[in-house]
């Protein structure tokens, strides 16, 4: 479980996060959603320590990450897997070497053991046999799956995914979403997904946090988000005319059902 307690973060005069508190539960897909520029990625970077918080703290299963020094954070960081928006694969290394990289740097595994682990991770993301390809030779969807394979290679307790579907077609997005959900449930990982893709939210979001104006504006699950009256959530979820029409027709159906009762 990851707890975010009263976190504040500013860049110069601009306050990005304002007193955010929330909890990300173990074995669930926790989603941080919100419009662009509302502080979702900054919150995620604060949680993994890429940004320092100005106030407040981050607790990983009760361990206060914010109070630790750089080298003391290493133990927790070894338990974190992260999928970046642009995949962040090392372009000079083959697919296999990308997956083996954290193992070679942070464990004492033999080359054979690392090879087996890389093969297993590639098989898990349905990319068996792609070991020798370079990232540049792979499609966007494949790159995301390789990044997931690299993220799970160290058997992480916490998995962060920053906009895992950006730049992907809807069908590939669903493949990535399902993969994230399966891995979360299979290994009992605390997964945090940063997204503004409503398809993903409805598809896999177990616990949803809506960030607005740097604050924890709303939280709930995927059923709540459809039925909530919160105006900011509604303007985010039902942003397009198409979605507004769907909501109107849903409400009409609901009314007629009530009248028929």
């Amino acid at each position: 479980m990851i707890e975010v307690v009263k976190v504040h973060k500013s860049f110069g005069e601009h306050q990005v996060l304002n007193d955010i508190s929330t909890t990300f539960e173990t074995g669930k897909v926790n989603m941080i959603i919100g419009q662009s520029g509302q502080g979702k990625s900054v919150l995620a970077k604060c949680i993994v320590g890429l940004h320092e918080v100005d106030q407040g703290c981050i607790l990983y299963d009760g361990r206060n990450f914010s109070d630790l020094e750089g080298y003391e954070r290493r133990d927790i960081r070894k338990e974190i897997g992260m999928l970046f928006q642009g995949s962040a694969l090392f372009d000079s290394m083959s697919v296999e070497k990308n997956i083996m990289f954290p193992l070679s740097m942070l464990t004492n595994m033999t080359k054979k053991e690392m090879q087996m682990r890389a093969d297993f991770c590639l098989e898990r993301v349905n990319l068996s046999g792609k070991n020798k390809l370079l990232p540049a030779e792979c499609s966007g969807g494949m790159q995301k799956r390789i990044a997931i394979a690299r993220a799970i290679s160290m058997k992480p307790k916490y998995l962060f995914c920053d906009e895992p579907n950006s730049g992907l077609d809807p069908k590939t997005s669903i493949v990535i979403d399902n993969l994230i959900r399966e891995i979360t449930y299979e290994y009992g990982i605390t997964t945090v997904v940063i997204t503004h893709d409503m398809n993903s939210v409805i598809e896999i979001g177990d616990n949803i946090v809506f960030i607005h104006e740097g604050k924890n504006w709303w939280h709930g699950d995927r059923k709540d988000i459809i039925t909530t009256d919160n105006p900011e959530i509604n303007s985010f979820v039902y942003a397009s005319q198409f979605m507004k029409d769907i909501k109107a027709s849903m409400q009409e159906n609901l009314k007629s059902n009530i009248q028929n009762l």
Binding site: V48, K78, G86, A88, D91
Partner: protein
């Protein structure tokens, strides 16, 4: 008040960058995560920074020596000066100034832009963030092998450069008929001091450190996208060239005078 702020802003920016640069250095010199991986990266960097710089260094040195010898011979019309002075001046200026400084300035362009754009691209594509999230000290992992490779290999390039400059000088003098081989060799061997080579080596090692660390600094702290990577690359070359010239001045003061 605003005017003062506008005037002070660039100075504060320079001071902030100097502070960040020294803080970066203090982190770079940490123990590598795995010595085996450090060794592999060091070998790669020796190839990229060192071996691949040899061809351009050879060409530059050969022509540089040739031009120094021709210029000296063409400007020596005083009959009181012995003929071997051409060789002596070619050797001295090559060892003391041209090979260490000019070559380093050229390598600052080649290697500096390469390092800044490589690390800058890793920064904007979040590869450095990925390293940090894994718990790896990205500064030590990426930059320390480059520094060690440059410090180890630049002196080798310098020695080759001095030798080839002298060969270039000899070829140009013999081909133009301005001096004989015997006279030129006599000049090269006259008033030779070992300390000149030590001075050149010290300068080269300092310049190697300056080129790699300043270029890495600009690359590592790149913000934005492709355009900013290009900007960092240019800044890296300009700043390392200026710092090389400043260091050259102070090293000459400290060692020779």
């Amino acid at each position: 008040m605003n005017e003062i702020t506008i005037i002070l802003a660039p100075i504060m920016n320079v001071l902030t960058n100097i502070g960040k640069y020294f803080m970066m250095l203090s982190i770079i010199f940490s123990r590598p995560e795995k010595w085996r991986i450090f060794r592999n990266r060091l070998m790669n960097e020796i190839e990229l920074i060192g071996v691949k710089s040899l061809p351009i260094s050879f060409i530059i040195s050969l022509f540089m020596g040739g031009v120094i010898a021709l210029q000296t011979a063409a400007n020596m019309d005083n009959p009181l000066l012995p003929a071997y002075t051409v060789g002596y001046i070619t050797r001295s200026s090559t060892i003391l100034e041209f090979s260490p400084t000019i070559l380093s300035l050229i390598l600052a362009g080649k290697i500096g832009s390469n390092i800044a754009s490589e690390i800058g691209t890793m920064r904007v594509t979040e590869q450095i963030d990925a390293l940090e999230t894994m718990g790896i000290n990205s500064l030590t992992y990426l930059i320390l092998p480059k520094i060690v490779a440059a410090i180890l290999f630049f002196p080798i390039i310098l020695i080759f450069s001095i030798g080839l400059s002298l060969v270039g000088g000899w070829i140009s003098l013999v081909m133009s008929g301005l001096a004989s081989t015997e006279t030129y060799v006599l000049g090269i061997r006259s008033f030779y001091l070992d300390s000149d080579i030590v001075y050149a080596l010290v300068k080269t090692i300092v310049f190697a450190f300056v080129i790699v660390t300043i270029s890495s600094f600009y690359g590592y702290y790149t913000k934005g996208g492709a355009l900013d990577v290009g900007r960092s690359s240019t800044q890296a070359v300009v700043t390392s060239s200026i710092v090389i010239l400043i260091c050259n001045f102070f090293l000459t003061q400290m060692i020779l005078l």
